[in-house]
């Protein structure tokens, strides 16, 4: 476990800013408790300072996880957000998509979202914009990117892809072995 270097911080914030915009600063300016980011075995964790202090007492090889896993750095040095960070993304997201009840399960099985399954979008979403996907009860289910802009969606057929799935809650089951909490 160690703090992120400046380059790594930039990569993480650049990726998070795609979902949260300027809300990324809210992750550091918290009224309740001081939080910061730490790197551990190529994964980035977001945790309260109190917890980080305690985690330093655990040897590196034995430490599995602490706080919330934001994502991981790939071998090629890119940063990838993981589904474990969904709660924060859901709170602060700018681009949002709400699914109909009928297509909720399909999304949770890892499928992309077709236009027929979308209840509504946030206005002015453009192509390739990162969005968080909610169900009708405003519970975040996952996140992805827009396959086409909202304007283009108006012209698309009901079977055309609208949101490409990057992560969804089903990953907790499907990828149990590789998600940060279980990875050892």
């Amino acid at each position: 476990m160690r703090p992120l270097t400046e380059d790594q911080t930039r990569l993480v914030f650049e990726k998070l800013a795609r979902y949260m915009g300027k809300n990324i600063k809210l992750l550091l300016d918290r009224p309740d408790e001081e939080h910061c980011f730490r790197l551990h075995k190529n994964r980035v964790y977001y945790a309260p300072v109190r917890l980080i202090r305690q985690a330093t007492r655990v040897p590196k090889d034995d430490l599995i996880c602490f706080g919330v896993c934001v994502g991981k750095f790939t071998h090629s040095g890119k940063f990838r957000v993981e589904v474990t960070f969904l709660d924060y993304l859901g709170n602060y997201a700018l681009g949002k998509v709400w699914l109909k009840k009928s297509s909720e399960m399909s999304f949770l099985y890892g499928n992309h979202v077709v236009k027929g399954g979308v209840a509504r979008f946030t206005e002015g979403a453009v192509k390739n914009q990162a969005v968080v996907v909610y169900n009708e009860d405003d519970i975040p289910l996952g996140f992805g990117v827009m396959a086409r802009s909202v304007v283009e969606c108006g012209m698309a057929g009901p079977e055309d892809l609208v949101v490409l799935n990057q992560a969804d809650l089903g990953m907790y089951l499907r990828e149990e072995g590789t998600l940060s909490a279980a990875a050892s």
């Binding site: 476990m1 270097t5 914030f13 650049e14 800013a17 990324i24 980011f37 330093t56």
Partner: protein
């Protein structure tokens, strides 16, 4: 009933009675009945007179084709395996190997001559392929060889042949020049006396067992050893949380500025 249950296969000289044997004493009687039936049918066959004469005595007949098909004694011959990919391809395409003959008919000498090599066949001066005479109707000084004129001047032939090896090599030359230029620049930089000296000093100061830690220095000699960057301020425990937060916020601001 009894007779109809007996099957005769004259081709194999075989008779079958496949009813179940109920009493042991019946076996002999049934066997003789069956054989009698076989012999009866055998004698009903038309005699083969030619064969009878050849043998010289008795009665010779030609047996009909056998009814029952006996299994083959030996395994089926394997189809010849095509070894190479080319052989399979050639078979699929129907390409057959065709050997080019070594001798060809020579019109000139009216004889078979080798295709290549000494005494080979030459195109006839009478054949259309060979132009052995041209009318010299082009302008120019008389007495010039019209064949040579048709061939063209050496310059025009060169142009038709395309870029020469020397032209082709100019690209390689250009690359070599660039490399040389870069080398030149590098050496110039190293020549700048101060840099070179500092560089040498840095090497010299690090070239002892202690990496220069315990060496005596001359008065005024600076420490030129290159060291790793200090990691001060990157403590693992967030003791200076305020400064870490400030740095992170700076990065966040820079990122947001880059986006907007």
């Amino acid at each position: 009933m009894e007779a109809s249950s007996i099957q005769v296969d004259l081709g194999h000289l075989k008779v079958i009675d496949n009813r179940a044997v109920e009493e042991q004493s019946d076996i002999d009687a049934r066997a003789s009945t069956a054989v009698q039936r076989l012999v009866d049918e055998l004698f009903q066959l038309p005699p083969d007179t030619a064969a009878t004469e050849q043998v010289g005595f008795g009665r010779v007949v030609r047996l009909p084709a056998p009814i029952e098909r006996l299994p083959r004694e030996k395994p089926l011959p394997k189809r010849e395996q095509l070894q190479t990919r080319w052989e399979r391809f050639a078979q699929a395409k129907g390409i057959q190997r065709h050997k080019r003959e070594r001798f060809v008919w020579d019109e000139t000498s009216q004889s078979w001559r080798p295709r290549h090599g000494g005494g080979k066949a030459r195109p006839s001066i009478h054949s259309k392929a060979t132009e052995w005479i041209i009318e010299d109707k082009e302008e120019g000084p008389p007495g010039r060889n019209p064949f040579r004129r048709r061939k063209g001047s050496p310059e025009s032939r060169k142009a038709a042949a395309g870029p020469t090896a020397s032209v082709k090599s100019t690209k390689a030359t250009a690359k070599r020049d660039r490399v040389r230029e870069a080398q030149q620049k590098l050496s110039e930089r190293m020549k700048s006396a101060k840099d070179a000296l500092d560089h040498q000093l840095s090497i010299a100061q690090r070239s002892t067992a202690s990496m220069g830690a315990y060496d005596r220095r001359i008065d005024g000699e600076r420490d030129h050893r290159q060291r790793g960057k200090s990691r001060a301020g990157e403590l693992n425990t967030p003791s200076q949380y305020a400064s870490e937060r400030k740095r992170a916020l700076q990065v966040a601001d820079a990122v947001l500025q880059g986006i907007s």
